[in-house]
């Protein structure tokens, strides 16, 4: 009986802790969003973070995009060639990339590379009292540290997703046309005629913007809210990757259901 009570108590405690964190995360977001206006007067802060969060993530996005596109083309070809529909490989590749793989895989890679780096950087600034030091210098760290990173991450994600998809399509072209010998004209004409600008490309961009917002929110909050020890920082970085990935996959289902249901 005591064991049951202990379990219940433990469950209640962890539920309350999670709810508290969720509440703190929303209060934090309410502090960060108004601080964005400071970027208008200090664009240099944003540009530096765009480089750090966006440009430095480019390599992994390009490489991953290329291979995902190549694999997609290969798998589509093997599946469609039995039905004599191999000319539709490009449609499979392009639609998969624009609607799903581009936003989702980019967000997962972004969480692993940029999200964890943001959490570690902000957490380390907290652990080494840099954030407290800024406060005591009458400088709001939310404005100077958090807001530029948040905005940079939010703006970078759709751009990275677009690059991922573009490189993925090129990878698919290389495999389908150059390796498997499909007709280049058929590849492009099938792709263009079956892709809708708003429905496919637009929704994909909206998805990536939503994923970017959520991933960067989790990343900067975990850094700002972490226990300022090496253990706390390690856990916060892990939480960023795990929570971001789960949030992206969960949201992807919801957004897909909303966007692509007939």
């Amino acid at each position: 009986m005591m064991l049951l009570f202990d379990k219940l108590q433990s469950l209640g405690h962890s539920s309350l802790t999670s709810l508290q964190r969720l509440g703190r995360g929303h209060v934090f977001l309410m502090q960060v969003l108004p601080a964005m206006e400071g970027m208008l007067f200090r664009p240099g802060l944003l540009i530096r973070q765009m480089y750090s969060v966006g440009v430095l993530t480019l390599l992994i996005i390009v490489v991953a995009g290329l291979f995902v596109g190549m694999v997609m083309a290969l798998q589509s070809y093997y599946a469609l060639v039995d039905f004599g529909a191999e000319d539709s490989v490009s449609v499979m590749v392009v639609l998969s990339l624009l609607r799903e793989l581009g936003p989702v895989v980019t967000a997962l890679l972004f969480a692993g590379r940029a999200g964890s780096a943001l959490t570690a950087e902000i957490g380390l600034m907290k652990a080494t009292e840099q954030l407290s030091g800024m406060e005591m210098m009458a400088v709001n760290p939310i404005e100077r540290v958090i807001a530029p990173r948040f905005l940079a991450g939010f703006l970078s994600m759709p751009l990275l997703a677009a690059i991922f998809s573009a490189v993925g399509v090129m990878g698919g072209y290389l495999v389908a046309v150059e390796l498997l010998g499909l007709d280049a004209g058929a590849f492009w004409s099938q792709a263009v005629s079956n892709v809708d600008l708003y429905h496919d490309l637009g929704n994909g961009m909206i998805k990536s913007a939503v994923f970017g917002f959520v991933v960067v929110w989790i990343a900067v909050f975990e850094g700002y809210d972490c226990v300022p020890t090496s253990d706390g920082l390690g856990k916060a970085t892990t939480r960023t990757v795990v929570h971001s990935s789960l949030a992206v996959l969960g949201l992807d289902f919801v957004l897909t259901a909303l966007m692509f249901s007939e």
């Binding site: 009292e129 840099q130 005591m136």
Partner: protein, 298 residues
């Protein structure tokens, strides 16, 4: 002059007023109070960190707050700087109740405060020069040339003008604290708070920091608050000393009086005794119950 401090409501059973046998140094006027703390209480969870402290810190001179580790000294500095909110009581800095100020007012007050963190808290992505220039760039519209001159003057004051282009990762612990001192005085504050400035320093670095704290205070004619548990260094520069234990003031007075105090709290702290009012053993069941009979729950 000193009676004002003695009249404070400090727990009677623990407080030991150190005799007023030495004249206060010139400029150390206790009637001209910059920081007035009354009935301050602060807790984390169920643990009381600061338990009803009253304190007056004069506008000029060096006031040391000493005590064993974990007794709430750094917390007290964070409360004075408005980074933490007390459970009860008030802190007035230059006549302003810190915890009733709006954010903009608090930030305006902080521009007049300098703080030296235990780690230095230098911004690691900026050079030494840029760290010292940081408050000037944030809060003034001075020309680049003037900022350069001011920064080099501040760095010269701490002996590190030649290290202006180094990055924080290239500095020793003592140098990092000296850079942090230069940054703390960049806006010519009315007060500087030093959080454990001597911890982890070699004897030479300690000597340099002791000299700098004393000289900066004399030259700038400001209020310096030094939180430390390094007895000799702190007593050598302080004009007035508060000793804190378990979140309460257990004694206060001039450094000379601290050295000869017969308070068992102060004696244990000054002489570094392992056991005394601050017990050697963390509270626990008796050894017999714990180890022999096994009656207690582990």
């Amino acid at each position: 002059m000193h009676k004002k401090v003695q009249a404070l409501t400090i727990p009677a059973q623990r407080i030991k007023i150190i005799p007023d046998s030495h004249p206060l140094p010139k400029g150390h006027d206790l009637s001209d109070t910059l920081i007035k703390i009354r009935g301050l209480k602060f807790s984390r969870g169920e643990r009381m960190i600061i338990d009803g402290i009253d304190m007056d810190i004069p506008r000029k001179g060096i006031t040391a707050i000493m005590g064993p580790s974990g007794t709430g000294k750094t917390t007290l500095l964070k409360l004075i700087g408005g980074q933490l909110h007390p459970d009860a009581g008030s802190i007035e800095v230059d006549g302003q109740n810190v915890h009733k100020l709006k954010t903009s007012q608090l930030y305006a007050l902080r521009k007049r405060m300098g703080m030296l963190f235990q780690s230095g808290a230098l911004l690691t992505d900026l050079s030494v020069f840029e760290n010292v220039a940081y408050p000037l760039r944030e809060h003034t519209r001075l020309s680049e040339g003037l900022i350069r001159q001011l920064v080099l003057l501040k760095l010269n004051a701490v002996g590190l003008r030649g290290a202006a282009q180094l990055m924080p990762s290239e500095l020793s612990g003592g140098m990092a604290r000296r850079v942090a001192m230069a940054r703390a005085i960049s806006l010519d504050p009315m007060m500087i708070m030093y959080d454990e400035p001597f911890t982890g320093q070699d004897p030479i670095s300690k000597g340099v920091l002791v000299k700098l704290i004393r000289e900066l205070n004399n030259v700038l004619d400001i209020c310096s608050i030094v939180v430390s548990h390094d007895v000799q260094e702190t007593l050598s520069i302080a004009d007035y000393v508060y000793v804190i234990s378990d979140g309460e003031i257990v004694g206060h007075g001039r450094p000379e009086d601290c050295k000869v105090s017969d308070s068992e709290w102060i004696r244990q702290f000054i002489d570094g005794l392992a056991d005394g009012p601050v017990p050697f053993h963390y509270p626990a069941e008796s050894v017999l119950d714990d180890l022999i009979t096994g009656n207690t729950k582990s």
